[in-house]
Symmetry: C2
Amino acid sequence: MTPQAATPAYRRLSVEQRRSQLLESALALFAHRAPEDVSLDDVAEAAGVSRPLVYRYFPGGKQQLYEAALTSAAEALRLCFDEPREGPTAARLARVLDRYLAFVDEHDTGFSALLQGGSVVETSRTTALVDGVRRAAAEHLYRHLGVAEPGPRLRMTVRMWIAAVEASSLIWLDEDKRPPRDELRDWLVEQFTAVLVVTAGRDPQTAAVVAALAGDDRD
Amino acid sequence: MTPQAATPAYRRLSVEQRRSQLLESALALFAHRAPEDVSLDDVAEAAGVSRPLVYRYFPGGKQQLYEAALTSAAEALRLCFDEPREGPTAARLARVLDRYLAFVDEHDTGFSALLQGGSVVETSRTTALVDGVRRAAAEHLYRHLGVAEPGPRLRMTVRMWIAAVEASSLIWLDEDKRPPRDELRDWLVEQFTAVLVVTAGRDPQTAAVVAALAGDDRD
């Protein structure tokens, strides 16, 4: 180990990098304990920096750090869904899931924290953040499916699939990240198509979406 | 309105009925407010009884009432999954979903409370209760599928579907209980079959389950 690695406090990071590092450390701690059981000293220690440095970045102290950590995780998740509307829909969905699963993989404990309410105290705020991400994900999906005004059956299908994807990521973390990420991604895409096909039997709008997806495949 | 209906406090109920009524009223209140914002007077008023009567049933006061309300909701949910292992699996699943959706329909606000963490304070306990119900539901499903030791892919498929069913019930309540309950039930059964078929393409154990389900249909 180099002396530099042993004293991570002295690594030179940009302001943005340092901020991210502190948020990341905080999120990992809040993932395992209630905010009242996490001190700024803990965060400083986990990030390998001094307590005053944490305060310099988050003068509002723990509450500010906690909220910033959750908000940044939600924001990062939202970015996963940003995908140009080009090429076959299944391939776009696979790319979105690639980014999403990479996020889950990289942030494991923080991701669980965010999705499972984070802490016993701040649930309502966390829930609102996560609901915002869910809504954004659904809106992106409607757009990729080429639907401006999704009816109730298509909406329910998309939202159920999003819930199933969330569940799968938590289970995946629980099961030591098995099956491999690429397999999970393809499996989730196949499930999406399968549930759309089921809904298509009950809903003309979804039937049109499924027909368009089948058209993609022929391109 | 008859005088009797106007003074519900004087309806004669059995001890069990009265207890259920109090739990139901409490759950509906806790569904909308944090426990600290619900008083025993509120519960007494909602149930149309006196405050001393509430205390007679729950001498531990609000905390006891709150926990009893959540526990009873979780217990009632668990009972929905109790289904004899007779006849075609899809028909059994439809009966289970019938009971489950009837529960959701009847307890709407309380059900949302239970599933969405109930309150900003008691989340960890609520989560543990709901996780217990989820686990019980998954165990029942494995048994109905005739699988003693479900592998990771089958487990994930079943748990994802359970998450999707939960999501669908919350969305259903959100969308003024549309589509009709029977349609939602059949749709959910079809989705279960569809996602099993997808997993069957990746997992021999699930392929065997799907083959057995197809055998059911031929009976």
